[in-house]
Symmetry: C2
Subunit: 196 residues, 2 copies
């Protein structure tokens, strides 16, 4: 008797993706098997390579294949400014404005005591070390304007000011309660100019 384990394994595997339930996973599996097997193999290779090759930039913590990411290595960036964001998606949102030429630190998360995510989980010690390298003159806090993002900005701001650094926050041009990734470019650009 034959078993369709490869199909079940595929549906289970697809359910590991965020926001994908069993019905969506089945639809995805059928689509790939019936209409796009090259796509399935391409995705398999991309997953394998990403999972094994991608690590965190030693300077800014964002995803990179090298020891240090392209942005951190770019000599045209202004090394006196450091923008702190929660995720690479937020970093990409700031980059798309074209209004910022400094460097970044990507927290890869936010402080969230209720979920048990503390300072250690988002690499605050590394951030404090990075920010006090002697080159950085201003740290721009660009965490989301949610309760957790604000709390994260507050904790980081207090700690860095105590170390004598100038700390600014994106201006309130960004609507409260929203996530940077979904904010229009103009609003982010404006908030950068008006940072306080």
């Amino acid at each position: 008797m034959a078993h369709d384990n490869a199909l079940e394994a595929l549906v289970e595997g697809l359910r590991r993706l965020p926001g994908v339930g069993v019905k969506s996973a089945s639809r995805m599996a059928y689509h790939l098997l019936q209409h796009d097997r090259p796509g399935a193999q391409l995705l398999a290779q991309a997953l394998e390579q990403a999972a094994t090759r991608i690590r965190h930039c030693a300077r800014c913590h964002t995803f990179t294949e090298g020891e240090v990411c392209a942005t951190c290595l770019d000599p045209r960036r202004d090394a006196t400014r450091l923008c702190v964001v929660e995720t690479p998606a937020d970093q990409a949102a700031v980059e798309r404005t074209g209004a910022y030429k400094g460097l970044y630190f990507v927290l890869m998360g936010k402080l969230s005591p209720l979920d048990g995510i503390g300072p250690r989980d988002i690499g605050l010690a590394t951030l404090f070390e990075r920010a006090t390298d002697g080159q950085v003159q201003e740290v721009i806090l660009a965490t989301n304007f949610t309760a957790e993002g604000e709390a994260t900005a507050h904790v980081i701001g207090e700690a860095l000011r105590a170390r004598g650094l100038k700390v600014t926050r994106l201006a309130r041009g960004v609507p409260a309660g929203s996530e940077l990734e979904y904010v229009d470019l103009g609003t982010i650009a404006h908030a950068l100019v008006d940072r306080r």
Copy 2:
């Protein structure tokens, strides 16, 4: 200068999944890389194995790893009845009712002249051969109650009746315009009993 090609390749790969745009793909990629690398590798293996191992059952056309699927090989199934469905998801919906003990033929599609999908694309010649094996006494048409599903049922019904077979259609208990996969079990069970 380092490039983040593995990340871009992963986002591109995830976009091959139906219903996944660039924002969703980015979120999925970040989630896997940050929180679930084992999941990424598990999904990679599942995709690779499914894409290479899964083929179509020689008797019913559904997905299987063997030459013939477990359902077609099951001696307890009633070989005098053949239920024609559009997809494996529809077959699964009929199976879940527990009201059907016969065999299946899975079209893996439906007639759709506007999309250029004709009788050859959904294996109608194979179905006609399968249905006239001498054992099948009744063919139950369980294509969806959409315009295309109805047209597909009509074409198959005409051809099989011309070959002297008894052909029935799921009763109208299934709401018109809906897809089997999303219909409640009771409705499908009722429609099976009332088939005409």
